[in-house]
C-alpha cells in the first residue's frame, strides 16, 4: 500500500512557525508561574483582587491557546466572529448565576 505513493514531497520545517509555537508555550508557562506566585503571595483577605487577577490571566492564556494553537487568530473574520460572539451568552450567564448564588445564600443563612 505505502509503496504506491512514492511521489510525496516532504517540505522542510517552517522555522518561523515552530519558533512562534515555542514562544506561545513560554508565555503560557510564564503566566501559569505568575498565577502560582499570586496564589502564594497575595493573602486570601484580598479575595476579589485575587479572583479578578486570576480571571484576567486565565483569559490571556485562553486567548493564546485559541488564537495561536487553534489558529483561530489567522482564520477569516466571519469564522472568528461565529465562534467568539456566541460566548457572550456565557458572560451573561456568569453574572446571573453568581448573583443567584448570593441570593440563595442570603435566603438560607
Amino acid at each position: 500500500m505505502e509503496q504506491q505513493t512514492p511521489q510525496v514531497e516532504v517540505q522542510p520545517v517552517n522555522k518561523a512557525k515552530v519558533k512562534n509555537f515555542i514562544k506561545v508555550m513560554l508565555y503560557l508557562a510564564a503566566i501559569t508561574a505568575v498565577e502560582f506566585g499570586i496564589a502564594f503571595t497575595v493573602p486570601h483577605e484580598h479575595k476579589w483582587v485575587r479572583i479578578i487577577v486570576f480571571i484576567v490571566l486565565t483569559i490571556v492564556k485562553a486567548y493564546y491557546i485559541v488564537a495561536e494553537f487553534m489558529h483561530l487568530g489567522h482564520e477569516k473574520k466571519s469564522l472568528k466572529m461565529s465562534i467568539v460572539l456566541p460566548m457572550l451568552f456565557v458572560v451573561f450567564f456568569i453574572f446571573i448565576m453568581i448573583y443567584q448564588g448570593g441570593a440563595i445564600l442570603e435566603a438560607l443563612y
Binding site: T5, V90, L105
Partner: protein, 251 residues
C-alpha cells in the same frame, strides 16, 4: 501532472456541493469548530454551576493559618489539593497545588507537540507526524495517570473531620466528604471527571490518527487535515483545563 491530480481530488472529495468553502475552511474543520463551541457551552455551564453553588455556601471567614475542614463552609482549595506522590517519604508535609501545576504543564506541553504534529502534516512529513503524535498521546496518558492518582488521593482522604450529627468523615464520596459541603466533592468529581473523559477520548482519537498516519492513509489522501481537526479537539481539552485550573484550584 500534479495539478490534474489535485483537480480530480477536489471533484471527488468536495463535500460542499457548490464547490466553494465558506469562511475558507473545509466542511470538517468548520463543523469541528461548531462542535467545540457547543462543548464550550457545556463546560461553561458546569463551571458556572460551581460558581453558583460555591456562592450559595458560606465562605471561610477566619485566617488561612487556622483553617480546618468543616461541613459549615466551602474549603480553601489549596488546603485540599496539597498532596504530591511520595512527598511524605521525602519529609514534606504539604505541597499545595504543586501536583496540579505539574498536570497543567503536562497538558500545555502536549498541546505544543500536537501543534508540531499539525505543522509536520502541512509539509507532508509522515515521520514527524508520527513522532509528535506519539509524544502527544504520551502526554495525554501521563495526564490521565496524574488524574487517577489525584482522584484516588481525594477519595481516600488524609485526616478526618466531623459532620453536623457528629459522625467522623474521611475521604470523599458523592454524598459526603471530609473537606467541606457534600457539593464540593460532587462538583469535583463531575467537572474534573467530565474533563478527564474528554482527555481520554482525545487520547483514543489521537491514537486512531496516529495509526492512520503510520499506514499512509493521509499520504494517499494527499493532505493531513485530519491531524489539524483532531488537533483542534486536543487544544480545546487544554483550554478547558486552563479554566478548571483557575476556578477549581486557584480561586
Amino acid at each position: 501532472m500534479a495539478n490534474s491530480a489535485v483537480i480530480v481530488e477536489e471533484n471527488k472529495k468536495n463535500i460542499w456541493g457548490g464547490g466553494v468553502s465558506p469562511m475558507k475552511a473545509s466542511y470538517g474543520k468548520l463543523m469541528m469548530w461548531f462542535f467545540l463551541l457547543s462543548d464550550a457551552f457545556t463546560f461553561s455551564a458546569l463551571l458556572i454551576t460551581y460558581g453558583l453553588i460555591r456562592f450559595s455556601h458560606p465562605a471561610y471567614a477566619g485566617s488561612v493559618a487556622d483553617f480546618k475542614f468543616s461541613q459549615e463552609y466551602w474549603p480553601i482549595p489549596e488546603k485540599v489539593f496539597e498532596a504530591f506522590p511520595g512527598m511524605h517519604a521525602l519529609g514534606i508535609e504539604s505541597a499545595p497545588l504543586v501536583f496540579v501545576g505539574l498536570m497543567t504543564f503536562i497538558l500545555i506541553i502536549s498541546s505544543v507537540t500536537m501543534v508540531l504534529a499539525v505543522e509536520a502534516g502541512e509539509r507532508m512529513d509522515r515521520k514527524a507526524v508520527e513522532k509528535w503524535m506519539l509524544w502527544t498521546i504520551l502526554g495525554g496518558l501521563t495526564f490521565l495517570g496524574c488524574q487517577a492518582w489525584e482522584w484516588a488521593h481525594f477519595i481516600h482522604g488524609s485526616d478526618m473531620s466531623m459532620n453536623a450529627v457528629g459522625n467522623f468523615l474521611q475521604g470523599a464520596g458523592l454524598s459526603a466528604n471530609q473537606y467541606g459541603p457534600p457539593n464540593f466533592a460532587a462538583l469535583f468529581f463531575f467537572i474534573t471527571g467530565f474533563h478527564g473523559f474528554h482527555v481520554f477520548s482525545g487520547v483514543l482519537i489521537n491514537f486512531i490518527i496516529f495509526y492512520q498516519a503510520t499506514v499512509g492513509i493521509f499520504e494517499k489522501r494527499g493532505h493531513y487535515e485530519m491531524v489539524e481537526k483532531v488537533g483542534l479537539y486536543w487544544h480545546f481539552v487544554d483550554l478547558v483545563w486552563v479554566f478548571v485550573f483557575t476556578f477549581f484550584y486557584l480561586v
